[in-house]
Symmetry: C2
């Protein structure tokens, strides 16, 4: 663990919520990530892991302080890892001008357009560098039982990470995910900025496009959406598009619409227990 520096450690539900920082080779900057180690890490058995990808404007802190997931992770004996949402401490012109592009808005993809392509490689960071780092630094992790979930931009990140890398994540779920970024204002802005105008490249980072060609191990997508979520109503999220794509491609999908719930962690905290049950059923089977 020499590459990791402990930022904080707090006991919660019998385990420890920790934050570490490290030097990322993909992002070329210092990054924080969170890891919840449930009480079962004291045993001799390797444990499953769920990665959680946060949404726009978040750091690694929002999820660990507001979602209340540690109770469920402790009940199931699951380690939970949460990366930050973009490179940090890099100065790129325009990276701080809006809350939906640049800092805290990395979209979990690998940028190809200058000046973003050097650092904005959140796709490779999450799915290669951090994925491997966690296994190397925490031998208690079972490499065959890794799942992923996320919220909003991070919900899309969870879907894309799973669909682009068949078998890497055994289970996937998403709260209020951006489902079809090529067709919504948030996605159009981010993809134009990070990827340029090439729509073929857009399709390779768009969950709704990717699911149409999915050809990996059997997978069920669990999607959750608050019906009172203003971003859903404004058509930033478009879950109907990915559901239709899943049905035409024969990929099982569950979409739970939650009456009057919004886009906040109040909503996530209400249903994250159900998501842990879903992941546990797959990861612990």
């Amino acid at each position: 663990m020499e590459k990791l520096r402990l930022v904080s450690s707090n006991k919660i539900f019998g385990g420890y919520q920790k934050v570490f920082s490290h030097e990322s080779s993909e992002l070329k900057c210092t990054m924080n990530f969170s890891i919840y180690l449930p009480p079962q890490v004291e045993g001799d058995v390797k444990l499953p892991v769920i990665f959680y990808l946060s949404g726009l404007t978040c750091t690694e802190q929002n999820f660990i302080t507001k979602a209340g997931f540690q109770r469920y992770a402790a009940e199931h004996g699951i380690i939970v890892v949460g990366p930050d949402t973009s490179p940090r401490g890099i100065k790129i012109q325009g990276d701080n001008e809006s809350w939906d592009f640049g800092v805290s808005a990395g979209f979990y993809l690998d940028a190809t357009k200058e000046p973003w392509s050097t650092n904005y490689r959140m796709g490779s960071y999450v799915n290669k560098e951090l994925y491997e780092l966690i296994q190397a630094a925490f031998p208690v992790v079972d490499p065959d039982r890794i799942g992923i979930m996320g919220h909003s931009m991070g919900g899309h990140g969870a879907l894309v990470s799973t669909l682009r890398n068949p078998g890497l994540y055994k289970s996937v779920s998403a709260f209020a995910p951006i489902c079809n970024p090529s067709k919504c204002p948030w996605g159009e802005k981010a993809f134009t900025g990070y990827l340029g105008e090439n729509k073929t490249e857009w399709a390779s980072w768009d969950a709704t496009e990717l699911v149409k060609k999915y050809n990996g191990p059997p997978l069920t997508l669990l999607l959750d959406q608050g019906a009172g979520d203003k971003f859903y109503i404004e058509k930033q999220l478009l879950p109907e598009n990915i559901v239709e794509a899943c049905r035409s491609a024969g990929v099982p999908v569950i979409l739970n619409l939650r009456e009057d719930y919004d886009h906040s962690y109040y909503y996530i905290s209400t249903f994250i227990g159900e998501h842990f049950d879903f992941h546990a059923k797959i990861l612990k089977s």
Copy 2:
């Protein structure tokens, strides 16, 4: 409800976490408070209420976003009200110089020393004004089933509010409370500032002193303390003092020491379910 202005409303665990603002006559300023209305408010039955008093540096937001209590409140059908920690928007010289005195450090007492005595009346605000306002504005509240809990400065506030006003709160519990403010640095600073040098007055706002003379309805104090809490180790909290006072006065007390837990909401979120069980047993009996 014409006196209340809705600040926010978010659905969580089937109920609604709301924040209201109002003009406080005791504090002579605009105050926010939170109220969680569980799904059972839709029924015909009046519901119990728990007041939650927060600690130093907090607003009404910390508890509602970090404690995860809404799950338990929804399970038990309990309304939960959380006031702010001091008057707001008042300019008094010195009110912003330190985090443990003045703004966000009202200590839930009625100041008698100038210049604090005009506004810093959090004792009367919580136990009279807000107590009555909640009942008037929310007829679903059962006036005979009201409990109180709190954290740190607010844990002391919960104890003092109960002990000074026998019968007002049927159940009381505290996380990492300041137990004997006359004997710790935080309390000495606050009491000197708000009350002056009169030690008899100090005793009338000190839970350990008050419990020695308690002569109200039967009451069990539930105290919770993280053994790894640095403020406990630094002797700001002194739970042993109130336990000894309770035993000599014949007031039942439970002190749960939690190995390696600290002073944070990570700790509170782990045990607040137990506290709701304790309050529910009394308030719903």
